[in-house]
Amino acid sequence: MNAIVISAIWGVVMMFSGIFSKNNAVIRGTAVTGLALLIVVNCLELDGTSLFKVNVHGLLYFNSFSLLFNTIAFGSTLLFTLLSGRDMERVGRSTPDYFALIFFILCGVSISSSFNSLLMLFLGIEIMSIPLYILTGTDKRNLKSNEASLKYFLMGSFSTGLMLMGIALIYGAKGGFGLDVIRFGTTELTPMISAGLLLLLVSMSFKVSAAPFHFWTPDVYDGAPTVFTSFMATVIKAAGFIAFLRLFDDAFGDLHPKWQLIVAVVTAATLVIGNITAVFQQSVKRMLAYSSIAQAGFMMFALVALNETGKQGLLFYTAAYSVATIGVFAVLIKMKDYTFEGFNGLAKRQPVLAATTAVFLLSLAGIPGTAGFMAKFYMLTAAVSNGHVLWLVIVGILCAAISVYYYFRVIQAMYFKDGEAQVAEVSGTFKFLLVVMAAIVVLLGIFPQWLLDKLYFFLI
């Protein structure tokens, strides 16, 4: 509850910050303060201190899983703001509003990570989505941005419609929206429940861009201003997964064997389509869009497996993936040319940028020694230990190998090819932050227990 209330309040604060100060640095500072505050209050709640005594009537359920994810999401947003906040100002003039929207999104994130009723799921996802539609379209003169925004909006509301139909059918069958109500006594796939389940599955797949409902993702990610793509591809996607997992675990956990196969097929399709299409991209931004689909495939392993390892792994995966992706995007924003050729020779001009980007990409590819490896390792472990989906594991492995191809194309361009990479001015702080993030990625890769310990002890 702390995070929900504070993020909503701070969103309002950000709205007004634009009135009281025209100085972007002050606004950014306010945002960073807010994020830090969010992290603090969220940790306080993790610790058992709830600042707001609100009777939620069982609509929300805060456990360490959701709270920990909130911390990860807020932390990623903090990193994102520190790295790319300045670039946000170049998108348009309403910086305070952008920050306000981001805080509202965070409110949605914390709701959809801790919902205990389909009503809250619906509201949380909408609060996340609606500001995002806007952020996608903030580059108002850019047709691509417009298109992305429109497409995202139409697709998003369409999937909301599907989700609502699913919810309605399940309500019809069970007579309640609470996850416990739905779970109670649901051991059979009756027609209404199965139809509802399928519709929910489809709509959630839309939201997390799992194949075959991913087709909006590349255009949207490509068209949105790069700063917001970064945010969208990380925090939002992760939150979508957390909601997805929570829904299917808490409400339909008992039916797991019945829907496992279909989710596994979706996962496999996501992996294959994401990875293979990513190979053919010419623009790094589009490549990252497809790679995010591919990574979504890996995150879905948690859903397929639906065990403790998977849950821990999903949290770890979100952290690893978010940090690395935010880093790559932060560098990408600084590039003049988004094609692979645009990165040619970056290592000579900006060795720090190139090195850190390389680390992030290695992490995304899942090379040991980086957080990405441990994340994938967890996912694979979860899937293997589930035991029913070994074929999916093999698909995952092969796709991970394919993913190396396109991630390494960037590394190749940066290090092995000659060229004049055009880079905008970067400050020392920026570089320092990148190095810190790279260090986080590596350290999490070698000592994952720094995060996992926490997880473990909260989960038990």
Partner: protein
């Protein structure tokens, strides 16, 4: 056939027919108007089920505010049957077939739904009255109520950001 059944069939035919007209009409303004008719039919259903509050709110919110906005935008853009983009014939067919298939599948699946024979209470029952709804809304559901204010705020900020001139 009792009067409620007659009403039900009348409203249902009205809703379905006008919904079909929404997607068939070439002229966007006609589509909007047909949609309003649909909303009226649905509101009629609500009132039949004694969900008075929702019935009226449906009219106020959907027909009275949302559809006016739609109409507003369509009129401002001066969209009419001539400017209406036409989809490829085959794609259109495919869309219709897809919709029809989904209908068939869902109906076939729900044909023997577990609650199939349960009755819907029509005239009686007070839960649709504003008093009951209000008291539950402001006690058990006060958290989502407050949260929806965040939703509105963000939509407002968003609409302003998008609609603002100058950049």
């Amino acid at each position: 056939m009792s009067i409620s059944e007659i009403l039900f069939y009348f409203l249902s035919v009205m809703a379905l027919g006008s919904a079909l007209m929404v997607i068939i009409s070439r002229n966007p303004v006609h589509s909007v108007l047909w949609l309003i008719v649909t909303f009226f039919a649905i509101s009629g259903h609500y009132i039949m089920m004694n969900a008075q509050f929702l019935g009226i709110v449906n009219l106020i919110v959907y027909a009275g505010a949302i559809m006016v906005l739609f109409l507003f935008v369509i009129m401002l853009m001066n969209l009419n049957a001539e400017t209406e983009p036409k989809k490829n014939k085959w794609l259109r067919m495919a869309g219709i077939v897809a919709g029809g298939c989904l209908l068939l599948v869902l109906v076939a699946a729900l044909k023997d739904a577990e609650v199939r024979t349960s009755a819907v209470q029509l005239v009686d029952g007070d839960i649709g009255l504003i008093k009951q709804l209000g008291s539950v809304l402001f006690t058990d559901y006060v958290v989502p109520f407050e949260i929806s204010s965040v939703l509105f705020l963000s939509a407002m900020v968003g609409a302003v950001v998008i609609g603002k001139k100058g950049d």
